[in-house]
Amino acid sequence: MSASTSTQLAVHVRAVTKTFGTGEAAVPALKGVDFDARQGELLMIVGPSGCGKTTLLSVIAGTLNFDGGEIDVFGSPLHAMKPRHITEFRKRHVGFIFQQFNLIPTLSCIENVSVPLLINGVSRRVAEQKAAAMLDQMGLPGRGHERPTNLSGGQQQRVAIARALVHEPRLVICDEPTSALDKDTGGHIMDLLCAVARHPERSVIVVTHDNRIFKYADRLTEMEDGRVQRVHGQGGNHDLIE
């Protein structure tokens, strides 16, 4: 099956392998991973430390080369694309939310949020207007000119979500989005991400350790030792989610 032949699939991963290092120091991180993410869903990748979930997220996002297998993201075959085209693909279609927010502390919130638009060639004026509007949507009206360091952790993550969404990407990649937040703030952030995932032509993939937020997932992919062990949720096992 290919993603281009299925309108439902956002991400289609088959037999993907990735090994770090060479020779005796070689560490296989992905050992033939098969994985799908659908459009309009929030999918979580969970598993113990070192199981390969962040590596999987990185190769899906096109930020890390992989050794073998195939990855289609919204019909774009990453395995067959040149690095330049993968960068172009990320620029247009992927939004990122990081564990440590990765907001640039010397820029204002509006400037941080406008970055993906500026990278896409949007003018500064338009980019900052859209960034301000996006911050309003994220519940941060009037905070646009503040530095991220003046905001709470939850507010900073909202800014990061605004940055991830401002250029309307189809794939939103989230790496441990709640691990630096308390339970309530994490819950609010997940509510926001669930709302983001409701878009019919978008898919949100979340890597997490945080079992408090498993309940927000539409489906949950469990990894272990570089492989997908099982999928919980629609059409699968609901145990872990419940």
Binding site: T54, L57, S58, A61, T63, L64, R84, T87, E88, R90, K91, R92, V94, F96, F98, Q99, Q100, N102, I104, P105, T106, L107, E111, V115, P116, L118, I119, N120, R124, D175
Partner: protein
Amino acid sequence: MYHLALKMLLGDRAKYAMLVGGLTFATMLMTQQSAVFFGLLKWTTSHLSNMRAKIWVVDRNVQQANELKALRDTDVNRVRSVTGVAWAMPIYVTIQSAKLADGNFKPIMLVGLDNTTLVGRPPIMLRGQLEDVRLPNSIILDELGIQRLSVGRAKPLGLGDTFELNDKEARIVGICRADRHFFGYPYAYSTYTQALQFAPKQRKMLSLVLAEPAPGWTAEAAAKQIQLETGMKAYTEDELFWSTIRWYFRNTGIPVAFVSIIVLGFIVGTTISGQTFYAFVHENLRHLGALKAMGASNSLLARMLLVQSFTVGFLGYGIGVLLVTLFGQVVLARGDPPFMLPWQLPAATFAIVMGICAFSALLGIVKVWKVEPAIVFRG
């Protein structure tokens, strides 16, 4: 994105100040030391700027303007007889002791000009009449001479005042402005005949002959002809200038001393700027990696780093040259130390500082080029 690059740079105030400070220091060191060096070299050729002639005829072994070997008195007529020479005038140059009011002595550079034409006259007369130098015991003294010889007097020397020059009375009939001599001697002008009387008698007294090419002759051709016909050494003004400079390069440690400091300025600038900019990039690597993950190309990130690096370069250079200019104004007003800032010098410093910035940016660019965007997913 460039405005964000600048905000990232300005946001890290400590590194920003360090970068600008380092480049300011490097600019200052390179420009100021070069300006002093050039000023010193200019002092070595002060005879040329203070006497001005197209052709300088000297003993065949003379290599530079400050080491003159006396000629015979008849040599001036031999030069005059050469085809291609319009005129030739004798000059006597000697260092004599002037007595101060407090009893001390100061050396002065006494120049004896041709009695009739006064060829080799002071470049700028500030007070008095040039022609009065023909009056008995008359001297035209430069500003430095006035300042030096006024020591111990109630008021500075002026027109009509006298002082003792080699046990003879010299009367000041004019004050001029002249370039300072390499050894720091003030210039005093008199007529050739009177200068011979101020100085102790020697077998040969003619120091050099100043000449002008005849119409239709270039200075080079006339100089060559003088050498051919008289066996004396004839330099064009330009040739003597560069011969003098080359002599000081070959025979003194001055260039090595100055070049060492200039190279030190370059090394300090490169080290501070390169190391600080590299540290700045290293500390921002995670953010740059995030930009890369979001789709910023390597070339966009490289351009951002170049904007940052050249911005501090322009600022550091601007402040550095401004400080050097202020330094120059102060020392030129004092006349010491030597200082000469031709436009080529700040232009060369600018090119070097921009080179340092390009190198610093390159260090960062290589670092950013290698970073994988997946770095942002590592904890």
